[in-house]
Symmetry: C2
Subunit: 299 residues, 2 copies
């Protein structure tokens, strides 16, 4: 399978996601030239040593056969779009297809509209539902996206051919591509991903503040380890996500607060049957919906 368009794949931001895209392109034998862009020269050196780069730095002649993937933290996408749109190189004007991997989509569209004055037809917002609590190109895996979903959020302005180019890249890496409306994406991800991360960070930080925190962590077992795995995620990536999706996260946090208040009432009343009813409902939901997932999912 050829790299869609047979042109260059320019990956801006060579962290876990960018590095895994490059590793997947290499492993699947998709032809094409891999170009890396990263603010940190040491990252590009590491990627080059791992065999993931054919070149580094923005090409000056980006054209319609090239594909640019912006794989930086959510709130840094705007500065990359500025570089591409109207910097000294004016790179987006050449017609390259541009996509991103940010976990919140509305701010990307807002930034594009503000910077470009319109939503460019060759910009295809995307979000792979895959990841790890580990970060950096050193954690990259060629199979990170295999059997995972990638959500694209094309808008009315998006050129179907541009969307297709991006979809084919992800499908070549083994992912299933699904289209969603921007606000649906941001609201659903607030529930399935952002709120669990907030709770995991909150729980670990809460326990770190109790006087007996040494004993607490010493007696934590597997349930705690799995529950808090996502609290080892990258703080920069996640502070960006919560800042970018604060409203949707706040809404589902309201719902969770109400549920916790209900549970607290049952606790204080010693209402064992009431607790059991809620626990049984949650167990049935999870057993029905979550156990059937693929084996190596991370986000």
């Amino acid at each position: 399978m050829g790299l869609p368009g047979s042109g260059r794949l320019v990956i801006c931001g060579f962290g876990l996601i960018g590095g895994s895209i490059a590793a997947g392109v290499r492993e699947t034998g998709m032809a094409g030239t891999l170009i890396g862009v990263d603010a940190d020269p040491a990252v590009l050196d590491e990627a080059r040593r791992a065999g993931l780069l054919d070149g580094a730095g923005w090409p000056h002649d980006l054209g319609p056969d090239d594909l640019v993937l912006i794989a930086v933290p959510t709130l840094s996408v705007a500065s990359i779009l500025e570089t591409l749109w109207d910097g000294e190189r004016g790179l987006l004007a050449g017609g390259a297809v541009v996509s991103d991997v940010a976990s919140v989509k509305q701010p990307v569209l807002d930034a594009a509209l503000a910077i470009c004055g319109r939503l460019p037809a060759n910009l295809v917002p995307g979000h792979p539902i895959a990841g790890s609590e580990r970060s950096g190109v050193g954690a990259a895996r060629a199979d990170l996206f295999r059997d995972h979903r990638v959500i694209l959020t094309p808008v009315a302005e998006t050129a179907p051919a541009a969307r297709q180019r991006v979809a084919e890249l992800w499908q070549g890496l083994g992912a299933e591509v699904v289209d969603m409306a921007v606000d649906d994406h941001d609201r659903v991800l607030a529930m399935t991903s952002h709120l669990p991360h907030l709770l995991a960070f909150a729980l670990v930080d809460t326990l770190g503040r109790v006087p007996e925190h040494e004993a607490v962590f010493r007696f934590a077992a597997g349930g705690f380890r799995d529950f808090t795995r996502i609290a080892s995620s990258d703080p920069v990536m996640w502070s960006d996500i919560f800042t970018a999706n604060a409203a949707a996260v706040g809404q589902v946090l309201d719902r969770l607060d109400a549920e916790l208040a209900e549970l607290r009432g049952l606790l204080e009343a010693g209402d064992r049957d009431g607790l059991r009813t809620i626990f049984a409902r949650a167990k049935a939901l999870r057993d029905a919906h979550v156990q059937t997932r693929h084996g190596n999912d991370h986000e």
Copy 2:
């Protein structure tokens, strides 16, 4: 290694924990006779077919060489103690060593005091920090306790020889035995185990109540699956635990509520640096304390 005391091991409650103790005794070649007691005859049949039983039902001649392990949900321990203490058989009078595996220890001691009028010297409260979101003897594993901690909470009345017998059983199954004060145990477990379970149940039930819950569960990835694994735990066991440890859970829930309120304030203020500071602190804590745990811990 012989079964401590070379007498019978009577396991009352043949679920995940009771069954795993029996399987471990078989696999490690500890000698001794395994007797099962369970309210459900089908459970004993399953245990017998799995080769985990030499006999069933309370022996009428329990004596000082016998060891009784009560492995029923926390709030059912009292009724077993009643049977042992003063039922038609008066079994505890024979001097058998009795232990339990309940996740909350104060109610076990309260029940013993109420039923026996004093804390019996041959009663050794215990709690293995191991388990699974799966339940029942069908989920039993001989290695469930290997490299895990077992907390014993002996009191002033507890005979050292009785404690030693119980400790040797667990050590024979590969566990590390640690003594703790009862209230320390219940407070620490409220933080490391009970509160995470409450949050997992609460999150899944919250998301089950939103109108778009089908889409929500469809797009849940690995972070969500790991975070909510413990929401698939047994509702009866956990409604008992929360009823039994409501005060300690309420106290740490207060702390978590304060932390969530702080995070919500940062969200609403768009304070990316404030969020990053908390996330980085949580990540550092978890990376320092949790990553070094054993590979197959569950609770």
